[in-house]
């Protein structure tokens, strides 16, 4: 039985049944392995090589299997084409895929900054509704958040991000860390933000959103444990940019006590202390829902 990420055997895994042609292919592979001359050195010389009469029988059986393979592959191909061909075509039309260096260096490209006028307009719109809004508070908080993300990534533990990440983003971030840990991805590094600036501000009847671009310095190195291969980065120091997007409900106002950037509950003003559900231990308010204060709703690092 396959070990699943969810910790229990899934119904899908239990219910997997190979088609006849797939079983045929598996059997063929097993036959090929059986017929291959043994490379094990612990066998006696007489049991290996062409001198063994069994080897001739193996060769004949393998040849017959190879000759007749199309008879079994054809129905599988046609069946697959009928079942999944159309879906595959549609899927490829909805998923943009790249590979190799293009994927490595194209993934995570940051969106362009707003022009100065649009940025000033956005900031003014937010400030008009919330006079206590201070962009500098957010840029300072973004720099702090980058350090906590560093601690979180290198320890493969989402806990440091709980105090500023929105609930939905935290859920997916934690799941991603679990997937990476399950795949033996080792992340080492140390970096910090050396510059932070607002690059986008948006105010709609539904929400406020602000994007902060950080310039980070340090090193980050991701390796694959079992193979030892470098997946991304290196142990050398370098500089890169990260975009942190903060969002909140359009009804939210900057909390008098400072809110999450000041490590205080935006609801009751008490020092930030969250329970397992992300609720304030003093007032029970869900502080990272973005209803009362800014929370991190998006994080992206440029290719590194």
């Amino acid at each position: 039985m396959v070990v699943t990420i969810s910790g229990v055997p899934s119904l899908a895994t239990r219910g997997d049944k190979d088609t006849f042609s797939e079983r045929y292919l598996s059997a063929s592979r097993a036959l090929m392995r059986w017929a291959s001359p043994s490379r094990r050195s612990d066998r006696p010389a007489s049991a290996a090589g062409c001198l063994n009469p069994l080897f001739l029988i193996k060769i004949i059986i393998v040849l017959i299997v190879i000759l007749l393979m199309p008879l079994f592959l054809l129905p599988m191909l046609i069946g697959r084409l009928a079942t999944f061909g159309g879906a595959a075509v549609r899927y490829s039309s909805v998923v943009d895929m790249t590979s190799g260096e293009q994927a490595r260096w194209g993934y995570g490209t940051l969106s362009a900054s707003s022009d100065g006028q649009a940025l000033r307009r956005g900031v003014a719109a937010i400030a008009a509704r919330d006079p206590a809004f201070d962009p500098a508070t957010l840029t300072r908080w973004a720099a702090t958040a980058a350090e906590l993300i560093c601690a979180s990534l290198t320890s493969a533990d989402a806990t440091p991000a709980r105090t500023f990440m929105a609930g939905g983003l935290l859920r997916t971030y934690q799941a991603l860390l679990e997937l990476r840990a399950g795949a033996d991805v080792v992340c080492e590094g140390s970096w910090q933000a050396v510059n932070a600036m607002l690059v986008e501000a948006l105010s709609t009847p539904l929400l406020d959103e602000v994007r902060v671009r950080l310039t980070c310095q340090g090193w980050c190195w991701e390796r694959h444990g079992p193979s030892g291969l470098t997946l991304r980065g290196s142990p050398d120091a370098r500089t890169w940019s990260e975009d942190l997007t903060f969002g909140r409900s359009a009804e939210a106002m900057s909390p008098a006590a400072g809110g999450l950037p000041a490590r205080r509950c935006p609801s009751c003003g008490a020092p930030l202390d969250l329970d397992e559900d992300g609720a304030c231990k003093y007032c029970g308010g869900i502080v990272t829902a973005g209803r009362q204060d800014w929370v991190l709703v998006g994080w992206r690092r440029e290719p590194w």
Partner: protein, 302 residues
Amino acid sequence: MVTQAALAAGNGAGRAGADALGIFWAVVIASWILLFAATLGLAVVVYGARGRSRRRAAAAGPPPPRLTASPPGLAALMRSDAHFDEQLLLDAALTATLLVFAATTTGDEGPLRRLVTDRFWQTPFGQITSTVARDRRRDSRQAAADAARGSVSKRWIIPLDYHPSVPEIVAVDLNGMQRVSVRVAFGQLQAMVRPGAVDYAAGAAAPNFASAVTSIARSVAVDVGDGQTQAVSWVASGGHYDLKFVRPANARTDPRAALSDRTCTTCGATYRSELAIACAHCGAARAMPWGEWRLAEAVPVR
């Protein structure tokens, strides 16, 4: 006389044997020709269509802009359901995209199955998710079988990164079933570690037939060659989607549900894994914070 009859019978048997052998070879040759034709046709259709769709995508322009007003129907939904929490549905959308990534990387559909309707698996997106996940499970079984024979698998597909955009509700339909569309974009990055990884990855993302054939042929050549030298390559994918969530017409939000997925509702134990679908302590099924909302379809936005 007897000798002549025996010779005739022998000749007859010989002819029959030759005929049978001739038929056998005819069947074998015809089947190989058919196989090549079918493979070529399949590849041309798939990669031709992929190339066309990519050209269309490239011509489609930038992603759709953010909404600046509530979608029609959202106010009515909030009136009819006093505890409706828009944020929970947006969280469900983010979680769904991550779980698709998890399923197609690890093969485990368990967490995703909790969040989607049965109908989801009949949609193009669901079919492909299911197919890729099934292939991953087959890889895992093969690796386990190899390990049992004492040989260590040298092929890995590694979930490296995942970035969702900020989701938003774009449509609400309360006629019959309650339907809400959530627009979200996401990108995902996988690393491939195996002999011939570069060509293998290039084959997986090949934009046309020629590059697919070249890449696959090279990766097979590496496999057949030394087959030992490990290499790493990457595959990135992503897109914009409208995730269509549904729930029964009479369903309403349970305000306690939002807090019910961090701790087991049966024994109170804390879930340590975001991907766990059952309590590790008592085995009870994990409750879902978004109540009865289920993902029915994922439609690309162009």
